[in-house]
């Protein structure tokens, strides 16, 4: 008798909302046949904070701190996408120096975010705490820089409409350069710890395969899309700020399995370091901010702007009616679409792979539930 003909009674396991590896408050309704997943229904909304309703009652500047709390691992990138959207609405051009500063902090935050993604992914595969804590050790270095730049560890609230809150402090370029020098060999450490580990390879290769067509059809973005073999990065394809001045590659995967998604993130770490290096070298001495005023009144109109956040394309759709508050603000969060594909990916895999695939998608509940 073939194994595939054997079925047992379906077991319904509720994973979450409190579960060590659901990355926050996600609730998966798993239907199991033995250890095999038959179906997985995803329930979200356990962190729904009604950001979009808040936005309608705040001025444009007042909403910046709320964007910090969307994707709280990459606050700078959220700030950035939001202020760029508002600037596009206002047709405001920011000084060159501000653009460079924005690129530097956004890329630093991308490194911090990818480190967390790699660490939690390894944790989900059962490498208990060690890779995660190694990643946190390096992440602390980035946070230290941010702490000096804007005085906070997690929610930076650093970008302003028309520039940045403060200019970079004295001597920060030295520290950033030190960090780059420190970080490069550490990437090799991770390669040694995870990449060539036979158990890790066995667990990640050819599992959770996301094909190119499915990825596009599900509107997957970011590293997950690139891992499926689509060479697409907004920083390169629709360059904003000064990304077109820098040289960097877009790492892509082949199969779109867990290992490719991990690989793409690992490669992006070094690419981000490369961008920061070039930005530090080319930063012009100038004013960092233009005065946009505290009460911003854009003309009536609509704008959709998206930027490449570490998890994918973060878009802001802002409708203005000419008053100080946005009439409607829609946040198009990358994790939202990235999570939607989970049900497709986990059919037929083992329970252990569900958490692995979830970890490899690198979702964050803050921006899914908003």
């Amino acid at each position: 008798m073939k194994m595939s003909n054997m079925h047992s009674e379906q077991l319904c396991v509720n994973m979450g909302p409190q579960h060590p590896s659901t990355h926050g408050v996600l609730y998966l309704d798993l239907r199991l046949d033995g250890e095999e997943v038959v179906d997985c229904i995803t329930h979200i909304g356990y962190l729904h904070r009604s950001m979009e309703k808040i936005a309608e009652n705040r001025t444009y500047t007042q909403f910046i701190p709320f964007t910090d709390r969307l994707d709280y691992v990459a606050s700078m990138n959220n700030n950035l996408a939001y202020v760029l959207a508002v600037e596009k609405l206002l047709n405001l051009d920011v000084p060159e120096r501000a653009k460079y500063i924005r690129v530097i902090v956004a890329e630093l935050n991308r490194i911090a975010s990818h480190l967390l993604a790699i660490g939690t992914f390894a944790q989900d595969l059962g490498a208990f705490a060690t890779p995660l804590f190694y990643c946190f050790r390096e992440r602390e270095k980035v946070i230290e820089i941010f702490d000096e730049v804007c005085g906070n560890r997690l929610t930076y609230n650093y970008m302003r409409i028309g520039g940045v809150q403060f200019d970079l402090p004295e001597g920060i370029d030295r520290r950033i350069k030190d960090f780059i020098k420190y970080m490069r060999p550490k990437i090799n450490d991770y390669e040694g710890l995870l990449t060539n580990n036979p158990i890790f390879l066995e667990r990640t290769k050819n599992i959770g395969i996301l094909s190119k067509e499915t990825a596009i059809n599900y509107s997957i973005t970011g590293p997950n899309l690139r891992a499926s073999g689509v060479q697409w990065d907004l920083r390169k394809d629709e360059p904003y700020l000064v990304y077109d001045k820098f040289e960097f590659a877009i790492p892509t995967g082949k199969n779109g399995d867990m290992w490719d998604r991990y690989r793409v993130r690992m490669d992006e770490l070094s690419q981000s370091l490369k961008i920061i290096e070039q930005a530090i070298a080319g930063i012009p001495e100038a004013q960092a901010t233009v005065k946009a005023g505290r009460m911003i009144k854009p003309a009536a109109g609509e704008v959709y702007f998206r930027a490449e956040s570490p998890r994918g394309e973060l878009g802001f759709y802002i409708v203005s009616d000419g008053s100080v508050n946005p009439y409607r603000l829609k946040i198009r969060a990358p994790s939202f679409s990235n999570l939607a594909v989970l049900r497709e990916l986990v059919k037929g895999v083992k329970v252990a792979d569900v958490v692995g695939i979830l970890g490899s998608l690198d979702i964050l509940m803050g921006e899914i539930d908003r």
């Binding site: 077991l11 319904c12 396991v13 509720n14 579960h19 060590p20 590896s21 250890e35 390894a122 944790q123 989900d124 595969l125 059962g126 490498a127 208990f128 705490a129 060690t130 804590f133 190694y134 050790r137 710890l193 995870l194 580990n197 158990i199 890790f200 066995e202 667990r203 083992k350 329970v351 252990a352 792979d353 569900v354 958490v355």
Partner: protein, 320 residues
């Protein structure tokens, strides 16, 4: 006929063994926390006693005075008995472990068989915990552990049989005596057996990378998800005691037991045992976990054939 004096001796020996077990388990818990912390570039417990040495004692006292929750819907008897079924075999195995030349509770002439037989019954407790908790995570953990332990028992036993071919006896003390000339691990065929034994024994005691029954990132806490307070502590102590037992067996069977120059026997025995435990900890805090089908595949497709071939080669050597 039990006389009073033999009864007193018995009580003394039993309390000595129990005392050693709890002390050793607590030491191991502290040590594991320190080892893991230093692997992760942390310090681990520091505030409770010197470098946190009193930490496991504090933990134990705290667990002792925690509320003992009996969830609604548990299979009462099974649920109650499970921690005892896990702990008692772990303790009973100590009867036949030789700590020194004369330091053994009872040198059974079927010593190793007894230990293997006793430790395998620990699975009943785990499965009872999984079944009795009436929790799906526990059930999955219990089922995984049953499948895992049955599969790994085979390569484990075959690797031990390889040793027995060379020692010619099942008695633990005689196995140690047989290593008077050289440690068994230096024999090429037993070298292979040693690794088969260590891998299957790691799986047997549910340590990472084979810690599927209590896989935290998948099954919350596995078979002991619903246990609180002292019952949870019993699972914890049993886990560390089992770890000590398998390492002690490895030290006895392959590393010459309590034999060693200069230092007294028990010291050598403990050094060897704790070295193996340290390696197990090192592995635990470095490797990711394997998946359940890979785990079974590894046991049946890799370890069992290797150990069988190894046994045949060893037998051929001896007959030659």
């Amino acid at each position: 006929m039990v006389t009073l004096s033999s009864l007193i001796v018995m009580v003394l020996v039993v309390s000595a063994v129990l005392g050693f077990i709890s002390a050793s388990a607590m030491f191991l818990i502290w040590w594991e926390r320190k080892v893991s912390a230093h692997i992760q570039t942390r310090f681990g417990p520091m505030r409770v006693g010197w470098h946190g040495v009193l930490q496991p004692i504090a933990d134990a006292i705290k667990l002792l005075c925690k509320e003992d929750i009996v969830p609604v819907g548990v299979d009462k008897w099974v649920w109650w008995l499970a921690p005892f079924f896990v702990t008692v075999p772990a303790v009973m195995a100590f009867v036949a472990i030789p700590f020194g030349k004369n330091l053994i509770v009872q040198d059974l002439n079927l010593g190793i068989l007894y230990i293997i037989a006793i430790t395998s019954t620990g699975i009943f407790g785990i499965f009872m915990a999984g079944w009795g908790s009436n929790n799906k995570y526990s059930l999955l953990g219990g089922m995984r552990s049953a499948a895992q332990i049955i599969s790994y028992e085979i390569p484990l036993l075959i690797s031990i049989i390889t040793v027995l071919l060379f020692s010619g006896s099942l008695s633990m003390q005689k196995i140690v005596t047989a290593q008077a000339k050289y440690w068994f691990i230096l024999n090429p065929s037993l070298f292979v057996a040693f690794f088969v034994y260590i891998i299957s024994a790691t799986a047997e005691v549910n340590r990472a990378p084979f810690d599927l029954p209590e896989a935290e990132s998948e099954l919350v806490a596995g078979f002991h998800t619903e246990y609180s307070g002292m019952k949870f502590a019993m699972f914890f102590i049993a886990e560390y005691t089992n770890m000590f037992t398998i390492s002690a067996i490895a030290a006895t069977l392959f590393l010459g037991g309590w034999r060693g120059p200069l230092l007294p026997g028990p010291v050598w025995f403990l050094i060897k045992t704790y070295t193996i435990i340290f390696v197990l900890m090192w592995v635990r805090w470095t490797f990711p976990r394997v998946r359940v089908d890979q785990l079974m595949g590894f046991a049946w497709k890799v370890l069992t054939p290797i150990s069988l071939v190894n046994l045949i080669i060893a037998g051929w050597f001896i007959l030659k």
